[in-house]
C-alpha cells in the first residue's frame, strides 16, 4: 500500500510538472498565432513604431550622458566561481584520543589532542546554460591515522527557469532537513557539529544522490515547500541503509538494498521566513524523513525536526555588525530495529545557540545541547544521555579568514568520569571567489 502511494505521488509530481511546462509553452504560441483583424494589427504596428522612436530618443539621451571615457566592459562577473577554503584546528581534551574520537563524532570535528586538518573544500559553481546552474564541492581531510581522504561532498544542478515558483535540484547533495545539515563546516558558528546531528546523520551530514522539487508558494511572505527522494544507502545516510557491519542500538546492520521506490529515502521540508521588523527576521521550519533501515529487511526509520532562527541586526550596522542570531533545532528519531523480535528505538535531542557580533569582526557564541534515548543506553556512545555547553569567541580577521577559540564542557554517561573538558583553536582561510554572506 505504502509502495503504491509513494510511486503514485512521484509519478503525479513529474507528470504534473511536465504538463505545467508544456501548457505554458503552448499558451504562448497560441497567443502569437491568434488572428487579429488587419486593421487592429496595423494600429498596433503604428503604436509600436511610436514607442520605438521614443525609446530611440531615450537611448540617444543615454549616449549623450555618457562621457567618452565610459569603457566599462559589459561582462558579467566571471561565469565560474572557484574557491578553496581550509579549516584547521589545534587543541586538547581532558580525555584520551580514543575517548575523544567518540565524543567528537562529527567527521570534520577536531577529534585528537594536537592538530587536526578539519576540512579543505574546493568549490566550483556557475551557470551551465539558460536552464541550469550547477555546483560541485570536493572535500579533502586527514583522518587521525594521517591518511588523506577525498570525498565528492556535493555535485548537483538546480533549474533556473521552471514556471510557478518551482525548482528542481538533482545529483549528490545535502538533504534539506533543518537549517544546519545543509551548511558546510566553514560556515558553522562553532568548531564542531551538534551532537544530535552526528547521532542521526553521521559524521558527514545527511547527503545522497537523488532529486527534489521545491515550490516557492504564492504567499506574501516567504514560504517554501521541498519534497525529495534520495538513495537511502551508504555511510552518509546513517539512520537508513548505513554501511553493512555498522551498529545502531546494538543491532548490526545488514547489506540491505533499496529494491523499489518504497525503499527510497523521502524527505519533506517547509520553511517560512518573516521580517518581524526592519531589524529582526525569523525563519521557522519543519522537516521529515522517511526511509528503510538496515537493521532488518522490513524495518523503517522516521526522523522529524523543527527549527527556528531569529536574527537581529542593528539599523546602523558596519560590515553587518552588531547582530544577534539565535538558532535552535529539535530532532527526534523512531528507528524500527530487527525483523524477528522487533524493537522501536526512540532518540531525541536539541541544540540551541546564540551568536553575538558585538563589534565589527568579533563574534561571541554560546551553545547548549542535549541528547538522549529510550532504554538502557548508558554505554552506547551515540545513544547515551549527553549534554554539552560550548562558549566560543571568533575573530573574523577579514571576509576571507577567521580565528576561533572554543571551550567544550561535556556531560556524557559513557565517559569514565562522566565529564570532559576540551579547548579548541580553529583557523580558516579562503582563496578564490568571494564567498556568500550567510544569513
Amino acid at each position: 500500500m505504502f509502495q503504491l502511494k509513494y510511486s503514485h505521488l512521484s509519478m503525479t509530481l513529474v507528470s504534473g510538472l511536465l504538463a505545467f511546462y508544456s501548457n505554458s509553452v503552448s499558451a504562448a504560441e497560441a497567443k502569437e498565432s491568434a488572428q487579429e483583424p488587419l486593421e487592429l494589427r496595423q494600429q498596433i504596428e503604428r503604436l509600436q513604431q511610436d514607442y520605438q522612436s521614443q525609446i530611440d530618443a531615450l537611448k540617444k539621451r543615454l549616449d549623450e550622458g555618457h562621457s567618452s571615457s565610459v569603457t566599462n566592459s559589459s561582462q558579467q562577473s566571471s561565469s565560474l566561481r572557484i574557491g578553496l577554503s581550509g579549516l584547521f584546528a589545534a587543541g586538547g581534551s581532558s580525555v584520551d584520543n580514543a575517548t575523544l574520537a567518540n565524543l567528537q563524532a562529527g567527521g570534520h570535528d577536531p577529534k585528537q589532542n594536537g592538530f587536526t586538518l578539519q576540512n579543505v573544500e574546493l568549490s566550483i559553481a556557475g551557470t551551465v546554460d539558460n536552464y541550469l546552474d550547477a555546483q560541485a564541492n570536493l572535500i579533502y581531510l586527514m583522518n587521525p591515522k594521517g591518511e588523506t581522504i577525498m570525498e565528492l561532498e556535493e555535485a548537483f544542478f538546480t533549474t533556473r527557469n521552471l514556471p510557478g515558483g518551482l525548482q528542481i535540484k538533482g545529483g549528490q547533495y545535502y538533504t534539506e532537513f533543518g537549517r544546519q545539515n545543509k551548511q558546510h563546516p566553514h560556515t558553522w558558528g562553532f568548531v564542531d557539529q551538534p551532537v544530535i546531528l552526528s547521532r542521526f546523520f553521521g559524521g558527514d551530514g545527511l547527503r545522497s544522490q537523488g532529486a527534489r522539487v521545491s515550490w516557492l508558494m504564492p504567499t506574501d511572505t516567504y514560504s517554501e515547500l521541498t519534497l525529495g527522494m534520495q538513495n537511502p544507502k551508504g555511510e552518509t545516510v546513517t539512520s537508513f541503509l548505513n554501511a553493512a557491519g555498522e551498529d545502531i542500538g546494538g543491532y548490526t546492520l545488514t547489506d540491505r538494498r533499496a529494491r523499489n521506490s518504497s525503499d527510497l529515502l523521502y524527505s519533506a521540508r517547509w520553511l517560512s521566513g518573516i521580517d518581524l521588523s526592519d531589524n529582526l527576521s525569523m525563519n521557522v521550519g519543519i522537516s521529515g524523513l522517511w526511509g528503510p533501515n538496515a537493521s532488518g529487511l522490513t524495518t523503517d526509520t522516521e526522523i522529524l525536526g523543527a527549527d527556528l532562527y531569529l536574527k537581529w541586526q542593528s539599523a546602523y550596522s558596519q560590515k553587518g555588525y552588531p547582530f544577534v542570531a539565535w538558532h535552535s533545532e529539535f530532532l527526534q528519531r523512531r528507528y524500527e530495529a530487527g525483523d524477528v523480535a522487533r524493537e522501536v528505538l526512540k532518540d531525541q535531542g536539541y541544540f540551541t545557540q546564540v551568536l553575538w557580533g558585538f563589534k565589527p569582526g568579533w563574534v561571541a557564541g554560546l551553545r547548549w545541547e542535549d541528547a538522549k534515548a529510550d532504554g538502557n543506553t548508558s554505554t552506547d556512545t551515540l545513544r547515551d544521555n549527553r549534554q554539552r555547553l560550548s562558549p566560543n569567541l571568533t575573530w573574523y580577521t577579514s571576509e576571507y579568514s577567521k580565528v576561533r577559540l572554543q571551550y567544550n564542557r561535556d556531560w556524557a554517561e559513557h565517559l569514565p568520569n562522566k565529564t570532559a573538558d576540551s579547548v579548541w583553536l580553529q583557523v580558516e582561510f579562503s582563496l578564490g571567489s568571494h564567498m556568500a554572506h550567510t544569513f
Binding site: 521614443q54 525609446i55 533556473r160 525548482q167 546602523y316 577579514s398 556568500a436 550567510t438 544569513f439
Partner: protein
C-alpha cells in the same frame, strides 16, 4: 456551495485588483538610492522596493528569505554592480527562480555599466590590498552627474519593458535631469570653499563626491580599504594631517567614531558625518534630499 451575487462581486473586485497590480511594473533595487531614482523616473507606473535599507553598508547584506520572495515577483532588478552585491546577490538570484531578472536578460539592469567608473585597479590585484574592487569603485551614485546617467539608463529600460508609458518616463527623466542640473549649480556654490582642499575620508567611498565638488581625498582612516585602523596607522595619519594642514575628515554614519574622535583630539580637524545613501538618515527620501543633506553636512563643519 451556492454561488451568490456577493461571491461574484467579491471575485470580480479581486480580479480587478490583481489586474491593476499587474499593470504597474514591479521594480526591485539593491539600494535605496537606486529605488529613489527609479521612483523619480517611473512615477506611478512602477512599484519600487529596495532590498537593503540606506542605513546599512550594502556590501555586507545577506540574502534573507524575504528577499527571495521579492526578487521572485520582480519585473526589473536594478543593481549597483561593480561587485558591490557580490556577497549576496548570486545566491539570491539562484534561489529566486525568476529568469526575467537573471544577468543578461531584460529584467536585469546593472547601472555600473551606465557610468564612468573611477578607481579601476591597474595591474595585479591582491587581497593584501584590502577590500578593493578591481572593476572600479562602486560608490558612483555620490556624484549627481552619475545620478543623471543612472536615471537615463533606468528610463530607457522602463521604456523597453513598458512601452505604453514611455512618454511619461521620458518626461520624468527630463524633469529629473533639469532639477538636478539646477540644484548642482547651487550645491557647487555652497561648497566652493572646499575646492582643491585636501580631505581625509574614513573609507575609500567618497572619490565620486570629491570629483563632483572638486576637493581632494588625500588619505583614508582605514590603512587599507576595509581594514580597521591600528594605533600605528593612526599615528602616521596624525603626522600627515599636521604636516599638510588637513582640516576635514568625512565618514559614513555607520563607521565607528572612536578613531575619528581621536584624530580630532590630536589635530583639531573637523569631522563631517555624511549620509552616504537615501534613507541613511531620517528625512532623506529622494536623490535630491540626499545631496541637500550631504552639502549641508559639508557646509557646517565642526558640528561633531
Amino acid at each position: 456551495m451556492k454561488i451568490t451575487y456577493k461571491h461574484f462581486l467579491w471575485l470580480l473586485s479581486f480580479t480587478i485588483m490583481s489586474g491593476s497590480l499587474h499593470a504597474a511594473l514591479k521594480v526591485e533595487t539593491t539600494t535605496q538610492d537606486l529605488a529613489a531614482i527609479a521612483k523619480a523616473v517611473g512615477g506611478e507606473h512602477i512599484h519600487v522596493h529596495s532590498l537593503t535599507p540606506g542605513t546599512r553598508d550594502p556590501h555586507f547584506a545577506a540574502a534573507k528569505p524575504s528577499m527571495i520572495r521579492k526578487v521572485y515577483s520582480a519585473d526589473l532588478l536594478v543593481v549597483v554592480g561593480a561587485d558591490m552585491e557580490i556577497g549576496w546577490l548570486p545566491p539570491l538570484l539562484q534561489s529566486a527562480r525568476n529568469s526575467r531578472v537573471q544577468p543578461g536578460n531584460s529584467g536585469y539592469l546593472d547601472l555600473s555599466e551606465a557610468v564612468p567608473l573611477l578607481g579601476k585597479i591597474q595591474g595585479p590585484v591582491s587581497r593584501d590590498m584590502g577590500d578593493v574592487h578591481a572593476k572600479g569603485n562602486p560608490h558612483y551614485w555620490l556624484d549627481p552627474r552619475n545620478g543623471i546617467r543612472m536615471a537615463n539608463a533606468i528610463a530607457l529600460r522602463l521604456g523597453q519593458l513598458d512601452p505604453e508609458h514611455v512618454t511619461e518616463y521620458q518626461k520624468n527623466v527630463e524633469l529629473f535631469e533639469k532639477t538636478l542640473n539646477t540644484k548642482l549649480q547651487g550645491w557647487k556654490k555652497t561648497l566652493q570653499h572646499l575646492k582643491g582642499k585636501p580631505v581625509i575620508a574614513y573609507h575609500r567611498s567618497f572619490i565620486y563626491l570629491a570629483e563632483a565638488f572638486g576637493f581632494r581625498i588625500v588619505d583614508e582612516v582605514e590603512p587599507k580599504p576595509g581594514i580597521t585602523p591600528s594605533a600605528a596607522s593612526l599615528a602616521k595619519l596624525i603626522t600627515r594631517i599636521k604636516n599638510e594642514q588637513i582640516d576635514l575628515l568625512i565618514m559614513e554614519p555607520y563607521y565607528e567614531r572612536r578613531s575619528a574622535r581621536y584624530l580630532k583630539e590630536k589635530t583639531g580637524l573637523h569631522i563631517a558625518v555624511i549620509p552616504q545613501s537615501v534613507g541613511a538618515q531620517e528625512g532623506i527620501t529622494t536623490y535630491v534630499d540626499l545631496f541637500d543633506n550631504i552639502v549641508s553636512a559639508l557646509k557646517v563643519r565642526g558640528v561633531n
